[in-house]
């Protein structure tokens, strides 16, 4: 479970880096800093049953939504495939994400 959690967090971090590369906001060269800014609030979550990995679904989905919003929907890369697989796995784990998963599948 620890390995799966680490993998989910790693994929989410990669997805945030890809978002920064595609959107090119100020400080885009500091991609790691943007990723840390995303993950920092989740380090405060101390309830054992809610690991940070459970919140990776909304983060990954929001990166996808923001890219669509900003017109940065470029070619489908390996990072997109990895994040889609991760979303599929997290859908099994987090029932509350089902409506969002449905919206993502339909709109994609």
């Amino acid at each position: 479970m620890l390995i799966v959690n680490a993998l989910i967090l790693a994929v989410t971090a990669v997805r945030v880096v890809v978002l920064i590369q595609r959107t090119q906001p100020p400080g885009a060269s500091l991609q790691d800093l943007w990723t840390v800014a995303v993950f920092l609030p989740l380090t405060i979550v101390h309830v054992a049953e809610w690991s940070a990995a459970l919140f990776c679904f909304p983060i990954i989905a929001s990166t996808i939504g923001v890219e669509w919003f900003a017109g940065k929907r470029s070619t489908f890369a390996a990072a997109d495939a990895m994040s889609a697989v991760t979303l599929g796995f997290l859908t099994l784990v987090k029932i509350s994400a089902w409506p969002l998963a449905l919206v993502l599948v339909v709109t994609s």
Binding site: A84, I95, V103
Partner: protein, 143 residues
């Protein structure tokens, strides 16, 4: 994307040793749980001040995103729907049970989303064009 999504979901299901025949009952029970959450929200009192801040916090960058990128095409509009559903889901998770730790955990998840939203607002290093978009909802929020 849908193909990879289904690959992840079905692959994880099979890797967990579950029979494909059990997918139907699992979905049925899952939707019952979702309906329970939905019904729980009907009992929620709207006077909770934390809920107001919870909604207001992500609204700032989302309104800024709308100001920066007025959705004109279907692709862009679908991005707006995705973000709205994310926020609704976090709101529901935070307030359907109304426990302090539920509110804090989901509030922190909102905080985690804010850099992602601002990356969109500030895309292509458009600092100048983004500033009015950010300041407008902030001013409305302060009112």
């Amino acid at each position: 994307m849908t193909t990879w999504f289904l690959f992840g979901a079905i692959g994880a299901w099979l890797a967990a040793g579950q029979s494909p025949l059990n997918i139907g009952p699992f979905l049925g029970l899952g939707f019952e749980v979702i309906a329970g959450y939905k019904n729980g929200m009907n009992l929620w009192g709207s006077s909770d001040l934390a809920a107001v801040f919870f909604v207001a916090a992500p609204l700032v960058p989302i309104v800024a995103l709308l100001a920066r990128f007025p959705p004109s095409r279907i692709n862009e509009s679908s991005g707006c729907i995705v973000l709205a559903v994310i926020l609704m889901q976090l709101f529901q998770s935070a307030f359907v049970r109304s426990g302090t730790y539920h509110i804090i955990s989901n509030g922190l998840a909102i905080c985690a989303l804010v850099p992602v939203l601002f990356a969109g607002v500030l895309s292509d290093r458009k600092r100048v064009s983004a500033l009015p978009a950010v300041s407008m909802p902030q001013r409305q929020l302060s009112w």
